[in-house]
């Protein structure tokens, strides 16, 4: 892949990549932008090289995940999703339904109750529509481990969401 091909692929996946960077950065928008910029720089400069062993998107998500981990270590930020940051997203516009915004907040809050691995696998599968196998590759865990995190995470998330609904 030459630079123009890389840039075209990055642009195509940009909204999704930003969403993944948001989750990897604890829903901190500024940090997510820094992470994504750094990840793109790594890809374009060739310090992270795609070798075709997996789908480009799977590989790119791995680069973003690694970059976010490094940024968080450098900046001493905790790995868990900070609720304040999650809820500090811009308020819904006039055309957006309040109900929808509340549902989003419920989901983000419910995700904070999960372990990082469970959260990662659920986001990759439900948010990014990856298979559990692809998610395992991004997370650099075995397929069996990813399945375990997926099952436990899904149960936990559903339990949490049903609690929210009952309130």
């Amino acid at each position: 892949m030459d630079r123009s091909d890389l840039e075209r692929e990055l642009e195509r996946l940009h909204p999704e990549s930003f969403g993944w960077a948001l989750f990897c950065s604890g829903r901190d928008r500024d940090l997510a932008q820094d992470v994504l910029q750094e990840a793109y720089a790594r890809v374009v400069s060739g310090s992270a090289r795609f070798q075709g062993r997996s789908a480009f998107r799977t590989w790119l998500f791995g680069v973003i995940r690694h970059t976010a981990l490094a940024e968080r270590r450098r900046a001493w930020r905790p790995g868990a999703l900070p609720v304040e940051a999650a809820l500090a997203d811009p308020a819904p516009g006039a055309d957006e339904r309040i109900e929808e915004a509340e549902r989003r907040e419920e989901l983000v809050l419910a995700l904070t109750a999960l372990s990082p691995r469970q959260r990662e696998v659920l986001v990759l599968v439900f948010y990014h529509e990856l298979t559990v196998e692809e998610a395992a590759r991004v997370m650099e865990v075995s397929l069996g481990s990813a399945r375990t995190h997926y099952d436990r995470g899904k149960k936990g998330l559903l339990a949490r969401l049903s609690q929210e609904v009952r309130r």
Partner: protein, 124 residues
């Protein structure tokens, strides 16, 4: 994803995804135009340690220079008067014995015996 629960989760995540996508910064602003050079901020502790080390080294050099005896200029030497520092090794007690050959009729010990009297006879 066939379970109703899975479909509900997928729908919730899809709402979140579309909301996040609306907040995504423009792609062009995220792409580096030129290779970026990351400036890593030096932690203040390392900076303080480096400054302290510089002060100690400079202070030590200054004090050492003040306490040292003043340097005296060496007298100018000529090539003819120069002697190798190891020349002392060539000095040994019997060196004179191995000096230039004695003239005929002279003895090697003549130079060590003081000439107290000189025979002034008429000769045979």
């Amino acid at each position: 994803m066939t379970d109703p629960e899975d479909r509900d989760l997928a729908a919730r995540f899809a709402e979140l995804r579309s909301s996040d996508a609306r907040q995504a910064p423009p792609f062009a602003s995220m792409l580096p135009k030129a290779p970026r050079r990351r400036v890593v901020a030096l932690p203040w502790k390392w900076g303080a340690l480096a400054a302290a080390a510089v002060v100690i080294v400079v202070g030590g050099l200054t004090v050492g220079r003040l306490g040292a005896p003043p340097r005296t200029a060496l007298p100018p030497s000529t090539l003819a008067s120069w002697r190798a520092p190891s020349e002392v090794l060539l000095e040994y007690p019997a060196r004179a014995l191995f000096g230039p050959p004695m003239p005929i009729g002279a003895s090697v010990i003549d130079r060590f015996i003081p000439q107290t009297s000189v025979f002034k006879g008429d000769g045979p």
